[in-house]
C-alpha cells in the first residue's frame, strides 16, 4: 500500500526531502515505518530516540497500524514559542 511520509526541520535537512510517497506492506505499524525509514536514511539513526511521529496530523503511539493513504509526519523535538 502507499503512504505519504513528511519530514520537518532537522529531519527534512537530513533526508533532503520534505515529502515522500512510500510503498509499505499492509498492516505496518508506526514503529515499523520508523524502522524502515531509518534503514533507508541512515543519517536519521542518531536522532531516532528523539523522534515523535504523527499520523494524519495527530500524535500516534508506536503500535498504531497504518492504512493506505495515511500521512505520517516525522517530528524533531519541538521548539516553538519564544526563548522567554
Amino acid at each position: 500500500m502507499k503512504i505519504k511520509a513528511r519530514f520537518f526541520a532537522l529531519y527534512r535537512e537530513l533526508t533532503g526531502s520534505s515529502e515522500l510517497e512510500l510503498e509499505v506492506e499492509e498492516g505496518i505499524t508506526v514503529a515499523g515505518l520508523k524502522e524502515k525509514v531509518t534503514r533507508d536514511f541512515p543519517q536519521l539513526q542518531g536522532h531516532a530516540h528523539s523522534l515523535m511521529m504523527a499520523v494524519n496530523s495527530e500524535y500516534a503511539a508506536p503500535d498504531v497500524k497504518l492504512s493506505p493513504g495515511d500521512e505520517i509526519a516525522f517530528l524533531p523535538p519541538l521548539s516553538g514559542g519564544s526563548r522567554g
Binding site: A9, S57, L75, L78, G80, G81, S82
Partner: protein, 127 residues
C-alpha cells in the same frame, strides 16, 4: 481564533479577538526574538511549522483552557518564516471574568504550546 502564519502579528488585533463585555481581564503573552542568545549575537531566526497539525493543536489548547477555566476565551497567533531580532513570534491572549483565571490560563497556554505544537526554531548567529 488560532493561527500559524508568515504575516507579522499585531498584539492589539489578537487582544481584540477575546474581548467580550463579560470579560474584565485580558492577559497577553508576547514572545519576541531575543539577542544575544546562548552568548551569541542573533542575526535572525527561522521558524518552521507543520501548519495543519499545529493549528489543530492550538485549537486543542484553547479547548483545554475552556474546559479547565470556565468562561475563558483564547486567541493564539504564532508567526513562522524568517524573523529579525525584536520581531514578535508569538501572541497569546486569554480573557476571563477574573484576572486570576486569565493569568493561570495564559501561562498554561505558553507551556502547553512548547509541549505539543509542531513548530521548530533555528537561530542564525553572526559569524
Amino acid at each position: 481564533m488560532v493561527e500559524i502564519s508568515e504575516d507579522p502579528i499585531h498584539p492589539e488585533r489578537v487582544i481584540r479577538e477575546v474581548e467580550r463585555e463579560a470579560n474584565g481581564a485580558v492577559v497577553t503573552f508576547v514572545g519576541t526574538v531575543r539577542s544575544p542568545s546562548q552568548g551569541k549575537e542573533v542575526l535572525y531566526l527561522e521558524y518552521e511549522a507543520f501548519k495543519e497539525m499545529g493549528e489543530r493543536k492550538l485549537r486543542q489548547i484553547a479547548q483545554e483552557i475552556s474546559a479547565r477555566w470556565q468562561l475563558a476565551d483564547v486567541a493564539i497567533c504564532h508567526r513562522v518564516g524568517r524573523l529579525g531580532v525584536g520581531e514578535t513570534s508569538l501572541v497569546i491572549a486569554v480573557a476571563a471574568p477574573h484576572r486570576q483565571q486569565a493569568f493561570e490560563a495564559c501561562q498554561y497556554a505558553v507551556d502547553r504550546l512548547k509541549q505539543i505544537v509542531p513548530i521548530w526554531k533555528k537561530e542564525i548567529y553572526r559569524e
